[in-house]
């Protein structure tokens, strides 16, 4: 069905807009043009003179108006005598090919318009035939293709299954162009919902088609907006965590038709619900972000399933579920705690993490000038020389806690090394408060100042006696959902718990965080308001946390804290685990995604550094890929050259199930380390996400290639429109314009207007 505008246009201008878009305007007068111009001038001059001679009967404005009407009338006549026409290229019937690309992906099964999208394709291209098919077949030799994750030639719609697991529009256009490159190709017509879910670069495909003059006409099937649907648009989860960690995962929900409604979000680990919460959906068009909290208790690769329980009337239930693969490690991570003076914080921190088998805090404590004690070292030589002086020595730890130790204790090289520990090595740095910490410790302007998430008060240096305050902490909105500050199963209960905790003391007033840093806790007390009590930021590859209090052990010892209360332990375990959760090893292994389609080729990327965390380009890296059925494939990894220390290899995930990728790296016969990664190969479910018809994308494809965009309602004009193209075998047609109805209406209108005006002025 054509639009009203197009119908009116064609009635007035004799031809459809596509003819004007593709045609070239020319004048083809049968007489010499100069003769016509001379006749025209005479015809114009005569009425002008006669109006001017009318003398005082008419005003000057009346004369001018009448003259304009008469001149316009004569100009239209002259225009017709010049025989205007459009020269338009049209295809030679049955000498050109037209590629018909039919979307065969699962999203075509969506019944968003009262019936499945695939029904439209079956109707138009089924064995019964249709006007559309007949119209196209009359003019072109048709070549049919089906496409989803790949492109295949088919004889008709009967071969379509609408079960493809992916929509790769760019891949389909490239394939069709290539297959039809040896025949006169009039264009491509794509019948699709446009729900492309590949990572292919569409721009390059369109540029190729444009340069070859192949117009792509797109037919968008389906609705741009679903009536009632909820979708888990994205899940942001850490890929590696320690066993027993509290994990916070951001889940982003979109919907149509459920604004203000409350839905249930469950997180499942191997079928067991580990988290359940109710979520109130925001308004339409807004993303509802909710943070799910749960504890990981099983080691190894774990697939966590995030599920919104389907609501009555939902169009698609499959997009209510998303799976995320998380690698849960069971190993003891080493953290160095350097304390500049004997403090109870040491005792109670050690107690707090004593039963956490994944955390190993090595304490180096200065008990007197040039006198140190070490606790929980692994061997007698560890830290025997005091605080590390080499990268190798410091970078063996995954985290560093700095207590009340003045900046002048360190050499400049050590201060820089601590900054590099965070920025380059990717370690976690936690800075505590104290008389010799932060600004009071003289850290302003040092390399450590650069990495801190807080702004050090330059006025408060080495003069801690000027400030002391007991502060009650308060959870910030950001802290409510942060994994470090979750003291209870739900954010609400956690916030209540924080409000009950006794005040701590600080001698380090901090009021400002740096851009990009986040404040998790603020504090207020005597002479202090909105002080920053816990702030974090990412710096380079690592994380940095500032906790400017000196006696968090009050949360363990205070008389108001019940003896069986675990607040202090939970807080410290979560803080230290979060601090080091994403710290890289000397060898890392990564695949671009944790879930791949069966048959998909995946690239393994490994980064290799030495014990000083300097990139290594001459290592021998080998990847061992174990398939779900237990077969092992050995792959030599090649240095990418583009980046220092980066090696790559690729494999095809041909089986359904979990693939284990283990990378071993050696140099000169010595092991630099190993790393493991996992990928879950399964039937992709992406087809059910973002499956609304994407008219914007399809219009862009058409516009950039010289084609047109249609809907099932307007596709009837497609056979006629496709005729007008420059590509393929064409002939030029002349389309007269002098006999357009609008010319006739214009002439009649001008004459009638002039007559009416003259009559009104009493001239007739």
């Amino acid at each position: 069905m054509r639009s009203l505008v197009e119908t009116v246009f064609e009635f007035l201008f004799k031809y459809r807009p596509v003819v004007f878009e593709n045609g070239q305007f020319v004048l083809s007068a049968p007489w010499p043009v100069l003769l016509l111009v001379a006749i025209g001038l005479v015809l114009v001059a005569a009425p002008l003179l006669s109006y001017l001679r009318l003398g005082g009967k008419l005003s000057t404005a009346d004369k001018a108006l009448l003259a304009v009407l008469r001149v316009s009338l004569l100009a239209v006549l002259v225009f017709c005598l010049l025989r205007p026409m459009l020269i338009v290229a049209t295809v030679v019937p049955q000498e050109n090919y037209l590629g018909i690309l039919l979307d065969d992906s699962r999203s075509m099964q969506v019944a968003d318009d009262g019936r499945a999208r695939s029904d439209f394709i079956r109707e138009q291209f089924g064995p019964e035939g249709s006007d559309l098919l007949a119209g196209l077949a009359d003019r072109f030799k048709l070549r049919f293709f089906r496409f989803s994750e790949s492109l295949q030639r088919v004889s008709g719609s009967g071969e379509l299954t609408f079960a493809g697991s992916q929509t790769r529009l760019s891949h389909a256009l490239d394939g069709a162009r290539s297959e039809l490159s040896t025949v006169p190709l009039a264009g491509l017509v794509v019948f699709t919902d446009g729900a492309d879910n590949s990572e292919d670069r569409l721009t390059e495909s369109l540029m190729q088609l444009r340069s070859r003059g192949v117009p792509v006409h797109t037919v968008g099937i389906g609705r741009e907006r679903f009536e009632n649907d909820i979708e888990i648009a994205r899940v942001e989860a850490p890929r590696v965590v320690l066993e027993g960690s509290a994990v916070a995962v951001d889940v982003m929900l979109t919907h149509t038709g459920f604004a203000g409604q409350t839905v249930q979000l469950n997180v499942e680990d191997d079928g067991r619900i580990v988290s359940a919460q109710e979520v109130e959906l925001q308004g339409e068009g807004e993303v509802t972000t909710v943070r799910a909290h749960f504890e990981v208790t099983e080691t190894g690769p774990r697939i966590f399933r995030f599920r919104i329980l389907p609501e009555p009337g939902e169009l698609i239930a499959e997009n209510n579920v998303r799976d995320v693969l998380v690698q849960v490690r069971d190993r003891r991570e080493k953290i160095l705690y350097f304390e500049g003076e004997p403090r109870f914080e040491v005792k109670f921190l050690r107690r707090a993490i004593a039963e956490d088998e994944n955390l190993h805090v090595v304490v180096l404590q200065r008990t007197a000038d040039n006198k140190f004690r070490r606790d929980d070292v692994e061997h007698p030589d560890e830290l025997a020389g005091g605080f590390p002086t080499t990268r190798e020595e410091l970078f063996q730890y995954r985290g560093l806690i700095l207590g009340s130790v003045e900046a002048s204790f360190f050499t400049h090289g050590q201060l820089e090394m601590i900054a590099e520990f965070v920025g380059q090595r990717g370690g976690g740095l936690l800075v505590l408060g104290g008389h010799n910490a932060l600004a009071q410790g003289g850290y302003a302007g040092t390399p450590i100042d650069n990495v801190l998430p807080v702004v050090l008060e330059p006025r408060l240096t080495n003069d801690s006696s000027t400030f002391f305050s007991e502060v009650s902490v308060e959870l910030t909105p950001f802290g409510r959902s942060h994994p470090v500050t979750q003291l209870a199963p739900t954010p609400e209960e956690s916030a209540e718990r924080w409000a009950e905790l006794p005040a701590l003391s600080t001698v380090n007033p901090v009021f400002e965080v740096k851009p990009g840093a986040s404040t998790l806790l603020t504090g207020h007390g005597d002479g202090i308001e909105k002080a920053v009590m816990l702030a974090a930021q990412r710096f380079g590859r690592g994380r940095v946390v500032a906790f400017p209090v000196q006696d968090s052990w009050i949360w363990q010892m205070h008389a108001d804290i019940p003896l069986d209360d675990m607040t202090h332990e939970i807080f410290w375990r979560q803080l230290l685990r979060w601090l080091i959760n994403s710290v890289p090893d000397q060898v890392t292994a990564a695949v671009p995604k944790d879930r791949a389609g069966i048959g998909e080729r995946l690239t393994i990327t490994t980064e290799v550094v030495d014990s000083a965390y300097l990139e290594v380009n001459d290592a021998q890296a080998t990847a061992y890929v174990t398939t779900p059925s237990g077969l092992e494939q050995e792959l030599d990894m090649e240095w990418t050259v583009e980046r220092d220390g980066e090696y790559e290899a690729s494999f095809v995930a041909g089986e359904n199930g979990l693939y284990e990728i283990r990378v071993e790296v050696n140099r000169d016969g010595e092991s630099l380390g190993t790393a493991a990664s996992y990928v879950d190969a399964a039937e992709p479910v992406e087809e059910y996400f973002g499956s609304q018809m994407r008219s914007t994308l399809l219009q862009r494809v058409a516009e950039e290639t010289g084609g047109r965009f249609y809907t099932p309602q307007t596709v009837g004009s497609l056979p006629e429109d496709v005729r007008y193209t420059q590509s393929g075998s064409t002939v030029y047609e002349e389309k007269d314009l002098w006999d357009m109805p609008i010319v006739f209406f214009l002439l009649v209108g001008l004459i009638a207007t002039e007559w009416g005006y003259r009559r009104a002025k009493g001239l007739i």
Binding site: E341, P342, F344, R366, T367, F468, V507, W553
Partner: protein
């Protein structure tokens, strides 16, 4: 030798030039003084907190023995030999005072006539189980032991008292201590000769109470009097052997109590 010299120096400072114009505190003085003017009682890392507990009989206020001179004089040594941010003055607190929980190190002596009230038992039990560290000093012979054993049994009935071996980390927390020295009271020390206050010769003992996680909660110095050594260290006639040992063990107990 170093400890002796420095302790002597500290003692000289104490005896000849009392801090901030305060009169020297004599042994007979048992008053609980408020914080000295100009000193800030808040915000310090360490307080040598003395336990105020109930007693019975003639020495029902035995918690006050050596107070506050021993405390303050010991703190001079602590501040001199370590870099602990220690509050300089005495800091007594009742066992049933909830504020006690803010001070994880606690010193109690002359516990032979200790008679804890129900509130004190509850307060001390909570303190120790929450993470507090208690040092017991200056009680002698079996009679006083039995009284203390009974009282501490009221507080921590489920935890036994055990010997602390000489290779325990407590004895190497700051100084290396390889033998226990019996520190006599000041009278015996000044006269020389016997060092015990028992009816018959007795040996000093270092015992402790550990929690479920083998963490030391209570250190018991029996048949010895560390407090007198701290109190009289400034006197030229006071034997170096006793003061040296008392300071070493006292500092070790503080360092250990702050890190374990």
């Amino acid at each position: 030798m170093a400890i002796f010299c420095a302790a002597s120096l500290g003692a000289v400072v104490w005896s000849s030039a009392p801090a901030r114009g305060v009169e020297p505190v004599q042994r007979s003085s048992v008053r609980v003084t408020p914080p000295y003017e100009g000193s800030d009682v808040r915000g310090r890392e360490f307080y040598f907190t003395r336990a105020i507990y109930s007693g019975y009989g003639r020495r029902s206020s035995s918690w006050r023995i050596d107070f506050p001179k021993a405390d303050v004089q010991f703190l001079i040594g602590v501040r001199r030999y370590t870099n602990i941010d220690a509050y300089e003055y005495e800091h007594p607190l009742r066992l049933d005072d909830p504020e006690l929980r803010r001070y994880p190190f606690l010193y109690a002596l002359e516990v032979g006539r200790m008679a804890l009230t129900a509130a004190e038992i509850e307060g001390l039990r909570g303190y120790l189980l929450a993470g507090g560290f208690l040092v017991i000093d200056d009680f002698w012979d079996m009679g006083e032991w039995q009284n203390f054993e009974y009282e501490i049994g009221q507080v921590l009935p489920e935890y036994p008292i055990v010997d602390i071996p000489l290779d325990h980390p407590l004895l190497s927390a700051f100084y290396e201590i390889d033998e226990l020295v019996q520190v006599p009271n000041v009278g015996l020390a000044s006269r020389g000769g016997r060092t015990w206050e028992c009816y018959s010769p007795c040996q000093p003992a270092l015992r402790g109470i550990f929690d479920d996680h083998d963490r030391l909660m209570v250190v018991i110095n029996w048949n010895t009097d560390l407090g007198d050594a701290w109190e009289w260290v400034e006197q030229p006639w006071y034997p170096f052997t006793y003061s040296s040992f008392a300071y070493k063990l006292g500092i070790n107990m503080i360092i250990y109590g702050m890190s374990h």
